[in-house]
Amino acid sequence: MSGIEITNLRKSFGNVRAIKELTLTIPNGVFCVFLGPSGCGKSTMLNCVAGLEDVTSGTIKIGGHDVTNLPPHARDIAMVFQSSLLYPHLTALQNIRMSLKNSDTDAVEAKRRIDHAVGILEIASVLDKKPSAMSGGQRQRVAMAKAIVRNPTAFLMDEPLAALDAALRQSLRLELVVLQRQLGTTTIFVTHDQVEAMTLGDLIVVMNDGRVEQIGTPDEIYNNPATKFVAGFIGSPPMNFFEGQVEDSNNGPTLRTQYGPIAIPRHLFDRMGGSAHSLGVRPQHIDINRTKTDGSIPGTVFAIENLGKDSVIILHDTAGHDYRVLVDPDHGYTVGESTYMCLDLSQAHLF
């Protein structure tokens, strides 16, 4: 059985095309993360799946049923909103009950489900509290309990962890993954945070400007980015790009840059052909030296970010482009120093 099937989905607001074209099948039980910068259409997509927005065209199936024209409550979904939104004037228990108030669930079954949800989320102690008296983590758990008691075919989550501090977000992320595995419910999770996407998702859908850039596992997205946007968006510090013209000559393929030619491995060239104009290299695949070597690229140290375990050196070339290089903290470089970048192209990408 399929979890969620979206076919040729389009959504416009007046003349603005928020979702240009989206076709996607999320297998049953999969945790799927929609990742993209703000305004890329990911929240609009979630609203369309939830039934909070009408689609302009296309179909949405949940659990094999066409729900395109059904109201939200008839779609067999549960939604967790941004910052774990709850009714502010109701207690935790009343909030959870509200999920079943107008459903066909009888009282005995409702109580059983609520007890079950309260048990697995360990929120018995906050049931009498109102949201304003709960911590961010407790609100998040109550919002999850409110979703779980509906026993839905799919969970839809719109940046539920966005407003929490970093430490709490990290622990709740883990809880969320464990809970989703335990329940086996198909989940769509929308976020702009790439770390959240990489750690939560079985499947990541990277969106940009109303379009899907790439669909894949976290591993595929990171190691084989399909577009330059995906390559630049995933990974921290972000990938470096060297612009130029790709040519194939007797000496093998090269990228002609303003600093001279850079030899490109044959396998990269074969995959992309001559249309590429951008070479992507992750910060950990660049070495810096004080002396010029063959094919190295000059850069001046502009800033140094010390991350503890390692440091990021930000270099400027003469045109003012930024390049980030990951080095050991005992690198010994100082701001303003002239250096040369040495690229390890075995794991580079051409776009």
Binding site: N47, A50, G51, L52, P71, P72, H73, I77, A78, M79, F81, Q82, L85, L86, Y87, P88, H89, L90, M98, S99, K101, N102, S103, K130
Partner: protein
Amino acid sequence: MVMAYPMGYAIWLSMQEVSFFGGFRTSFVGIENYREALYSDNFWWSVRVTVQFVLVSVVLAMLIGLGLALLMHHVRRGRALLGAIIILPWSISLYGAGVMWQYLARGQSGVASSLINRMLGRTTPDTAVEYSLISSEQIVNLLALGNAWNLAPLVAFFLLANLKTIPERLYDLARVDRLNVWQRFLIVTLPPLQYTLFVFTTITLIMSMKLLDFIFVMSAGGPGDASATLTFRLFDLAFRQSNYGLSAAMSFYLLFLIIGSALALFFFWGRRLEDT
């Protein structure tokens, strides 16, 4: 000094018998004026009229205010114009409003007569019926409506400010939870308005209890004394009948009524809002 002198003078006055004939003089009568008020049918009638006037005023002001706020919140086009029209009644002086409402309500040229004749199709003077809204049965409600018409815009704008703070997403949550229109109103819309509703119930209650000018202009306490609220009664006693002592004593009963009902409101309603 500003507070104490008139207050002290009123207390002194309420314990005096004031006479004008044979020269202005006063004599101390103790609590006689207070006792006389309690034994006066006119006083109890005025208390009754005041309570009815205030209750209807407050309920109407709140309902109309809430209705206008919801209207302004949901209208998409022409919001500024609508807001300007809605705030207008508030900016009209109650004296002027009294004159206007009297014209609207009276028999020959009033709204009720015109509507009835229009519906019955009577266009000639000899067949036209005359229906005045200024009747002893309806006058208090009519005064309260006029008063509410004047107070509601301010209530509406404060409620609108509250409505604007409700996150849109809560309405989405209500849709996923399949709440109907009434449940949505009770669970999402109404709770954040409670405090403003309480404050304005108290304000409109006090303002209505001490209202005089509108009543003075529109009905002058009439017909008969059908709309003689306490304020009108004590104005009448003091400045028409020159019974200053009794009037001052009654004014203290009005003060007790105002303080008592405001405290009761706080005790039964306001106090509970503090922990929400």
